[in-house]
């Protein structure tokens, strides 16, 4: 009695396993066809844009004019090669100095997308790294001597312009920002930059008050900051599966 029960148990178990295998085999063939139909493709290509913030500032700020062209190229699902090319002219006026800086800059590096997109959406919350370099000149339009003692006022002032040419600077930059696809292939971006000056040409008996691309310099540190608003267009070159 007991023996028979054990035997039937084994038979049923064995047949169940067999059935299971055959069921599994069937399942396999179905799922592959289902998967095929919802495969998600991602757009790869060259994204080119301009800095709208600098453009607006050029119209609203008398002491500033500048423009920046930026581009990125997707090399991996979340990794982009990115760069910016810009031109700036900025007049800095303090109580004792009036300086006009003008020049061009180039920045190159990578952006890494930290945002997990839903389906085939193509938005970015990214952090990036850049190496930047600028070639510029400074024109000291006027100066007034600083003196804590004002017994003999006014102090010496000079409106004779002095030009400092062939200045260069190199810096590194950390970027954090977002890029959102507003319409098909059209993106709006916003980013903030934290910069560290690596090397600069120090003009004789003067300093670099402003460096194109690096922005305002500080007496007490080699750190700089910046921001950007960009509108860019993606030229799609090919598509690749999202996996």
């Amino acid at each position: 009695m007991k023996k028979q029960r054990i035997l039937s148990y084994f038979i049923s178990l064995f047949s169940f396993l067999l059935l299971g295998v055959s069921l599994h085999a069937q399942n396999d063939s179905i799922t592959t066809t289902v998967n095929d139909s919802i495969k998600i493709k991602l757009k790869y290509g060259l994204r080119i844009g301009g800095d709208v913030g600098k453009l607006i500032r050029s119209f609203t700020d008398d002491d500033y004019s500048g423009f920046e062209v930026n581009a990125d190229y997707r090399i991996k699902k979340a990794l982009y090669i990115a760069g910016e090319l810009g031109i700036e002219e900025k007049t800095t006026i303090t109580d004792y100095l009036d300086v006009t800086t003008s020049g061009t800059y180039l920045k190159a590096g990578v952006d890494y997308n930290m945002y997990k997109n839903w389906l085939d959406m193509d938005n970015m919350i990214y952090s990036g790294f850049r190496v930047g370099a600028a070639a510029f000149s400074q024109n000291l339009n006027s100066l007034a001597v600083y003196n804590t003692d004002q017994y003999w006022a006014p102090q010496y002032a000079s409106a004779e312009s002095q030009k400092f040419n062939d200045l260069t600077a190199v810096w590194v930059e950390l970027i954090i920002g977002i890029k959102v696809e507003l319409f098909n292939n059209l993106y709006l971006g916003l980013n903030a930059q934290l910069k560290g000056l690596v090397t600069e040409t120090i003009p004789n008996n003067f300093a670099n008050i402003y460096i194109p691309g690096f922005n305002k310099t500080y007496d007490s540190s080699k750190i700089g900051a910046g921001y950007g608003y960009s509108i860019s267009y993606l030229i799609p070159l090919y598509k690749k599966d999202k996996n």
């Binding site: 303090t94 001597v145 008996n205 008050i209």
Partner: protein, 171 residues
């Protein structure tokens, strides 16, 4: 969600940073800028010992006001600001000054300081300072000088900082 936190943190850092750097635009008092001429008074009879001048009144020639802190005081040294927009500054050093019923007592001597100026860059906040080279001091002879003689600390005296005296006056 985690990314938004990173983003918020980063913008926060930038804000704090830019606020923290605001004092950079104000020239700190500790920064040496345009120096003044420092004169010490010594005893003509014992040239190593300092000697006070009593009731001294110092006034720049061409300036309507006596030099602040030197309006009838007793001092063994004086700090004189020089004109940064000229190559000559003249001072009146009035010893034992008194004014009773508009009768002015004491002995007034004039000194003339000649120099050339040079502008030296300090910093973004302070801009330029003026330093003075080839500084010479002459005691204008009025027949009754209380200042007997003068001596510069260095040959070819310059006034580039306020660390030490630049001239000695003996009386």
């Amino acid at each position: 969600m985690k990314h938004y936190k990173i983003l918020a943190l980063f913008f926060g850092i930038i804000t704090i940073f830019s606020m923290g750097c605001e004092p950079d635009d104000i020239c700190p008092e500790s920064t040496p800028t345009t120096p003044s001429l420092i004169i010490r008074f010594y005893d003509i009879l014992n040239q190593d010992s300092k000697k006070n001048v009593f009731n001294l009144k110092v006034q720049g020639v061409g300036n309507d006001n006596p030099l602040t802190d030197y309006n009838v005081v007793t001092k063994d040294s004086i700090v004189l600001p020089l004109k940064t927009d000229a190559n000559t500054t003249q001072y009146s050093l009035h010893k034992e000054y008194s004014n009773t019923d508009n009768i002015i007592g004491g002995n007034e001597d004039f000194i003339t300081i000649n120099y050339s100026t040079e502008q030296v860059y300090v910093s973004r906040a302070c801009g330029y300072k003026t330093i003075f080279k080839n500084v010479t001091l002459t005691i204008n002879n009025d027949g009754d000088n209380w200042i007997q003689s003068k001596e510069s600390i260095n040959d070819n005296q310059s006034v580039e900082d306020e660390k030490a005296a630049h001239f000695k006056l003996f009386h």
